[in-house]
């Protein structure tokens, strides 16, 4: 029986596209960002309804974006729109803040799409394929580490959700001091995450896990190249806008 996990695109092409979008994203304007984000948002909403739900749980990402936005708004010189004590909100600051946040969101969406559609074994095989020709780099070890990071991400998120639930059950959100809230949340989360990661590592060891294993076959077909070509064209067009 073949693996039932849907193979969306060859992992090597996905890695190239992800790197391309991340690099191109640094210099994109509003039009370019809209051109790249529109198809991604449509793909997400059509094919991964479960992923949309997870966005509501990404409040820390939104918190980070808000911080970046505020920092940009108040630190960019330009035409003042409003004053707040010694600092002023500028038109250019609003524009820059929005632009930087949208670029971060683009990189996040691409990363989330990659993780959602790629098995950790494929990540390992893909990274190893790219690193193999590089001398002095232990390709298998680096690839294994990267794939394990991808494997442990859901573990950390799951532990964070459980810790948060346990604290809310005891009215933890009533604490006003952010430092105490962070300590009360962070320490048990780290302890639980390390314990779970330790258990997982032992279970993997019990099943003979090593760097050298049967990797998935990496193949590219006509559909892969068609998708890749379209995506590259979109990235180049977005960069030119």
């Amino acid at each position: 029986m073949p693996p039932r996990h849907g193979r969306v695109l060859d992992v090597r092409l996905k890695l190239v596209l992800m790197a391309g979008v991340s690099v191109a994203g640094l210099g994109l304007g509003f039009a370019g960002l809209a051109l790249l984000m529109a198809p991604l948002v449509i793909l997400f909403s059509v094919f991964r309804p479960a992923a949309r739900v997870q966005f509501s749980e990404l409040r820390w990402l939104f918190f980070l974006l808000a911080l970046v936005f505020i920092a940009r708004v108040f630190s960019t010189d330009g035409t003042p729109l409003a004053g707040l004590g010694p600092v002023a909100v500028t038109r250019e600051g609003l524009r820059e803040g929005t632009l930087v946040c949208l670029r971060l969101v683009l990189v996040f969406i691409v990363g989330a799409a990659f993780i959602a559609t790629t098995r950790s074994a494929e990540i390992k095989a893909g990274v190893e394929w790219f690193l193999k020709p590089v001398p002095w780099v232990p390709a298998a070890r680096v690839a294994t580490m990267l794939s394990l990071v991808a494997r442990f991400m859901p573990v950390i998120l799951e532990q964070a959700a459980k810790t948060s639930d346990a604290q809310r059950a005891r009215a933890g959100e009533n604490r006003r001091n952010p430092i105490r809230r962070l300590t009360a949340f962070g320490i048990p989360l780290m302890r639980r995450t390390f314990e779970t990661a330790d258990n997982l590592a032992v279970a993997m060891e019990a099943r003979c896990y090593s760097e050298t294993r049967t990797d998935p076959e990496l193949t590219t077909g006509r559909k892969d190249w068609l998708f890749f070509g379209t995506a590259v064209a979109l990235i180049l067009t977005a960069a030119a806008l």
Binding site: P3, H5, R119, A203, M204, A206, R207, C208, T214
Partner: protein, 250 residues
């Protein structure tokens, strides 16, 4: 029957100086169904982890199929498949199929052979229809059966279950117990730890009781079970009335 596991004077001290196991000697014949019972902290899990080299002895020896585990832990892990207490922590694949393929892939089997083993293991535990499902969405009993399939795909000679019935509801217990009994009937050596004899004793052909890192009773279930409560292990209700215990599968 030949011996599949030979443990001689096994002692294990943890890094903080606590003695986990003290002078354990235990031989297990191929094809046996052995239950190791004991209260929490009696050393059951520590003992199991020596069988596939997850822990190594402070002193003494553990041999699986005639080969020292300390000399070749990887070989021991191929011979002894371990089902952990927490099924969730054992899941490593993104799908049921991938999770079962994890072990054979680690053995560097060819891709067609990996596929054959996964199909066989999933069919054996009745999960073939769920091959494409995400493991975290399975029920408790299904997750435990998935763990069994993951181990079966590696074709071990011994299967070790660490508290296999914890956190399972009645149907889940019956599913896992049924699987275990079927494996034993097919000739597999089964080792199981528990502090709850009621669910499994009817099917075991040997009962070992541990306390404070030592083996304090060992023999036929009907004989040993009468001493169980002396060592903080609750006897099955039927055993309290003079019987061996009723099967949960009836």
């Amino acid at each position: 029957m030949p011996l599949i596991i030979e443990i001689q004077h096994l002692t294990h001290c943890f890094a903080d100086g606590t003695i986990g196991l003290a002078d354990i000697s235990l031989d297990i014949e191929e094809g046996a169904f052995v239950v190791i019972a004991g209260a929490n902290g009696s050393g059951k899990t520590t003992l199991l982890r020596h069988l596939n080299g997850l822990l190594l002895p402070t002193s003494g020896t553990v041999r699986v199929a005639g080969v020292s585990v300390a000399d070749d832990p990887r070989r021991a892990r191929m011979r002894v498949g371990m089902i952990f207490q927490d099924a969730d922590s054992q899941i490593v694949g993104e799908t049921v199929h991938d999770d079962v393929a994890f072990g054979p892939e680690n053995l560097r089997l060819s891709r067609p052979e990996v596929g054959r083993r996964v199909d066989g293991a999933l069919a054996a535990v009745g999960l073939a229809e769920l091959a494409g499902r995400r493991p975290h969405r399975l029920s408790g009993g299904e997750k435990r059966r998935l763990s069994i399939a993951g181990v079966l795909a590696m074709q071990p000679r011994v299967i070790v279950f660490d508290e296999p019935f914890s956190n399972l509801d009645y149907p889940g217990v019956r599913q896992v117990l049924g699987q275990m009994v079927a494996l034993h009937r097919s000739g597999q050596t089964i080792l199981l730890t528990t502090h709850d004899l009621d669910k499994v004793l009817a099917h075991a052909d040997r009962l070992v009781i541990m306390q404070h890192g030592r083996i304090v009773a060992d023999g036929l279930p009907a004989t040993v079970v009468s001493e169980a409560e002396t060592f903080d292990v609750r006897s099955p209700q039927a055993a309290q009335r003079g019987g061996r215990g009723l099967s949960w599968l009836n």
